[in-house]
């Protein structure tokens, strides 16, 4: 068992990949750069078409970059074909060889490395035990369930002890319950193998739960790199804020700005909020966008003198563990606020006060994305 260290393993440096030519040209990856540390599970997260899979395939050597370099443990991997890189890859479709048994699938990477027969048998069994599939060695991939195929793919990618594990949307073909279970399994197996991994997904919840760090991608570029908490709590742009989790945005005017926090006027109230990380300083009078998460706001009865946003309950969605209120304010804005159903559920039409702690609210310059 190995916890992530700070030692650098994989370096992706200014990588660019363009598909097609002429008017149909698509820039799939544009100046993409990030580092992955030893033992770390690093996730590329983004909507479909954002270039995350392309980036992973560039790391694997299945595509060649038009510019930039892939460095691993100080060696330049850029010119190497996939089979000269020490990688293990799990594909979205699992890509198990249909003409081989489970055992032969897992043994494949050992066989091409000319490992002796006895060692192959031993290591395949170890790998199958690691993924909890010891009893299926003689079966064909077609006779396995989706979750089992997933484990075989994982065993096949790990059995020859690669230095880097690549996972391309490995859970997207599983049903919701299994997906949650398997992501825990993947994390456990990755930790146990002590291997650093790059994980691609479009599912933000999955990314938050499984990753040591996340790179959010947007239109071929990296929008933000950070720990799950950083990505969720301090998104670097409105895109990241919107893509990861639920987000409320309200137009506001900056009154004061002291570098870290600012005073804004929003929906008729005067509020304190954090200035978004990495955004340029906003002069007084500048237009901004106030951002907060639905569960970070608190709603209460309207009280005289309390500072907050006045709103009216428009819609109530009962979700069991919490209640999601759609609140509308004067001027036509609406926000979502999640509250635990403790002490009764508010009624539609009820007037409420929304209060925000300053460190749970952020201001983005208007027009930034």
């Amino acid at each position: 068992m190995k916890a992530p260290s700070t030692k650098l393993k994989l370096g992706v440096e200014g990588v660019r990949k363009v598909f097609g030519d002429g008017p149909s040209q698509v820039v799939a990856a544009d100046d993409v750069g990030f580092d992955v540390r030893d033992g770390e599970l690093f996730t590329l997260l983004g909507p479909s078409g954002c270039g995350k899979t392309t980036t992973l395939r560039l790391v694997a050597g299945l595509e060649r970059p038009d510019a930039g370099r892939i460095i691993f443990e100080g060696a330049d991997w850029t010119p190497l074909p996939p089979f000269r890189r020490s990688i293990g890859m799990v594909f979205q479709s699992y890509a198990l060889f249909p003409h081989m048994s489970v055992f032969e699938n897992v043994a494949y990477g050992l066989r091409v490395r000319r490992i002796s027969r006895t060692e192959v048998g031993q290591r395949v069994n170890e790998a199958l035990e690691l993924v909890g599939l010891a009893g299926t060695r003689a079966r064909r991939p077609g006779q396995l369930s989706g979750g089992q195929q997933q484990r075989v793919a994982l065993a096949r990618a790990l059995v020859y002890h690669p230095k880097l594990l690549l996972l391309d949307e490995p859970l997207s073909n599983l049903d919701a319950k299994l997906r949650v279970y398997m992501r825990g399994e993947i994390k456990r197996i990755q930790r146990q193998a002590g291997i650093c991994a790059v994980y691609v997904t479009h599912d933000q919840e999955e990314a938050l739960s499984i990753s040591d760090r996340i790179a959010v991608m947007q239109a071929g570029r990296i929008a933000q790199v950070g720990t799950p908490a950083e990505i969720y709590e301090q998104p670097a742009s409105t895109f990241v804020a919107d893509f990861v989790g639920k987000a409320n945005f309200l137009e506001c005017t900056v009154l004061e700005h002291d570098g870290e926090t600012c005073i804004i006027r929003c929906g008729g109230a005067r509020l304190r909020a954090m200035a978004a990380t990495g955004s340029p300083p906003m002069p007084a009078g500048a237009e901004g966008l106030l951002f907060f998460r639905p569960e970070r706001a608190v709603i209460s009865h309207v009280r005289e003198g309390a500072s907050g946003l006045l709103a009216c309950v428009r819609d109530i969605e009962y979700l069991g563990s919490l209640v999601r209120y759609t609140l509308a304010g004067e001027g036509g804005w609406t926000v979502l606020v999640d509250a635990p159903p403790i002490g009764g559920i508010r009624q539609a039409g009820e007037e409420v006060l929304i209060t925000l702690a300053a460190d749970h609210a952020q201001v983005f310059p208007k027009g930034s994305r």
Binding site: A60, R69, P79, P81, F83, F97, G109, L166
Partner: protein
């Protein structure tokens, strides 16, 4: 002081080298064996025999005979009439068969469908001459019908025989794709017509048929292309009824006028290409896509009357289409059979004669067919892999070049190979090599297309998974790609081998005394009225084809004839 150049980042294209090598091989083979011969025959057809081959001597003289010679004009009209009528007859046979097999629970359905594919694999000219045994002047049925019913049938020699034989050989081209389309159609579409109050007949005419019309059209065009290029059947049954392929044959073997032959071949090819363009137009429009919500089988009628009537019809048509091949079998054991419904004496004498006279031919056929099949398998899968997996410019050009000899009339390919390779520096006239070249380029599409289809249906991630597991390109091809496409390649190879054993059209133009094949030998026996040994060889040929296909079917556990379409 020497300056040290900064190391340039230059990706080592280690695994692109093999791509380049294969590409070079592909371009070389296609250029030398397909593009060069076809261009040469094209060029020669515009130059008068005896004139030097140069741009200054380009002329339309070889084509003028289509306006001056009655023989040429007749051959052209005959070709069009015979092919057109064959198309109509194939539709009349194929459409009802397909409908019944798709919509009625016919007893022995699978067996009937298997039998219906046989005419596509069995050599048509064997069937053709056995019609002489059945319906010729001395034929088994002729005498029966004449004496029993007093009806004088039209002579089998001439247009009647040509059309009957071709129709019974080619109707599966209509039947099989249509059967597929009708079986996979969404039943909800027809059910909604019923709920809208349409009568069953109205439903067939307004819903069912229009939906499959593109499939029927495509089948009809394939029949037309095959019919207009067929040489064996009109050569054996045509008599005075000349068509373009037989005319080409006489130009080549009679007066060795390759320029004239080229011109006729070109005209015949224009019709083929015209129908091919029509085919692309029809299939390109894609017909209609019905969105199927769930895989539900089309309900089949299981009314006993429908089942047995349907069976009767199917068995009759399929039986008649296979009757000639059965007759050959019977005739091969017949010592005396003339003017009677059944032979009057049986023996193995035909086989003894056939064997003593044609051991060389049997050996030649096997050598040529096996050799060509092996080469087709290797080159076909390599080319398919290049076409399916590499991003190469001008891939469509490669596809077209490979398919060209497939759609061109066999006799055109024969003439092209002849004019290209009998001259220096090749001088291959009469060799086994020239036969193998012709066989290779005509049959390459079978393995190429089945391998290509199988590759496009195989998840490319499988090969990528192998690469990421540490296997290089050639190991990946050997351990992953090849095993996955082997069933398809084997299917293509089986069809290649089975149809090469009895190849007649190009062989007749290219063979020499040293390289006679079974088909040539049968053709000779028939020409000398030696029906006994001809039947024995024909029966052997039919048996060999059937055994090949049966064994391969059993080995691969699926229908190989899917590689035919």
């Amino acid at each position: 002081m020497a300056t040290i150049a900064a190391p340039r980042v230059r990706p080592r294209r280690a695994f692109d080298l093999s791509t380049a090598a294969i590409l070079l091989l592909v371009v070389g083979i296609l250029g030398l064996l397909i593009v060069y011969p076809l261009s040469r025959v094209l060029l020669l057809s515009f130059i008068k025999p005896g004139d030097p081959v140069s741009p200054a001597h380009l002329t339309l003289a070889n084509f003028s005979r289509f306006f001056t010679s009655g023989l040429y004009q007749k051959a052209l009209v005959n070709s069009l009439v015979a092919s057109g009528t064959t198309v109509l007859a194939s539709l009349v046979l194929g459409i009802p068969l397909a409908y019944i097999l798709a919509r009625v629970k016919v007893p022995f359905r699978e067996a009937l469908i298997s039998l219906a594919t046989l005419p596509l694999i069995l050599p048509p000219f064997v069937g053709a001459y056995s019609w002489i045994l059945i319906l010729g002047r001395q034929g088994a049925l002729t005498s029966l019908i004449r004496e029993g019913l007093g009806i004088h049938l039209p002579s089998i020699i001439g247009p009647f025989g040509v059309i009957v034989t071709m129709s019974l050989s080619y109707y599966p081209f209509v039947l099989l794709p249509l059967l597929g389309a009708l079986s996979s159609a969404d039943p909800h579409v027809e059910e909604s017509a019923l709920t809208l109050g349409a009568s069953p007949l109205r439903r067939i005419l307004t819903i069912t048929l229009p939906l499959v019309l593109p499939t029927i059209g495509a089948g009809a065009i394939i029949v037309f292309m095959r019919a207009i290029g067929n040489f064996g059947v009109p050569a054996l049954l045509g008599g005075e009824f000349y068509v373009l392929p037989t005319l080409i044959y006489f130009e080549v073997t009679g007066s060795f006028n390759l320029h004239g032959a080229g011109a006729i071949a070109l005209v015949s090819t224009l019709f083929s290409i015209g129908s091919l363009l029509a085919l692309r137009y029809i299939t390109g429009k894609g017909g209609f896509v019905t969105i199927t919500s769930q895989a539900r089988q089309m309900t089949q009628s299981s009314h006993p009357a429908a089942r047995w009537l349907g069976f009767g019809f199917c068995a009759a048509v399929i039986g008649i289409s296979l009757l000639p091949h059965l007759t050959v079998l019977l005739a091969s054991f017949a010592e005396r059979w003339a003017g009677t419904p059944l032979p009057t004496a049986y023996s193995l004498i035909n086989y003894r004669k056939a064997f003593t006279l044609s051991m060389d031919a049997i050996r030649n056929s096997l050598v040529l067919a096996v050799g060509t099949t092996v080469i087709c398998m290797i080159i076909g899968s390599l080319m398919a892999h290049t076409a399916a997996r590499k991003r190469i410019p001008g891939r469509w050009l490669m596809d077209i070049t490979i398919m060209l000899p497939f759609v061109l009339p066999g006799i055109m390919v024969g003439v092209a190979i002849l004019v290209a390779f009998i001259v220096p520096p090749f001088e291959l006239a009469g060799t086994g090599t020239i036969l193998m070249i012709a066989y290779f380029i005509r049959r390459l599409p079978y393995t190429f297309r089945s391998a290509y289809a199988s590759l496009t249906q195989t998840d490319i991630a499988l090969e990528e998974a192998s690469l990421t597991c540490g296997a290089n390109q050639s190991t990946t091809f050997r351990r992953v790609t090849l095993p996955l496409i082997t069933p398809a390649v084997a299917a293509g190879a089986t069809i290649t081998f089975a149809t090469l054993l009895g190849e007649l059209t190009t062989t007749l133009l290219l063979y020499s005394a040293r390289w006679k094949t079974i088909a040539v030998k049968i053709f000779e026996f028939i020409s000398y009225d030696q029906t006994g040994p001809a039947s024995a060889l024909g029966a052997l040929l039919v048996a060999a084809v059937l055994v090949t296909v049966y064994v391969a079917n059993r080995l691969s556990g699926r229908s190989l004839t899917s590689a035919l379409g």
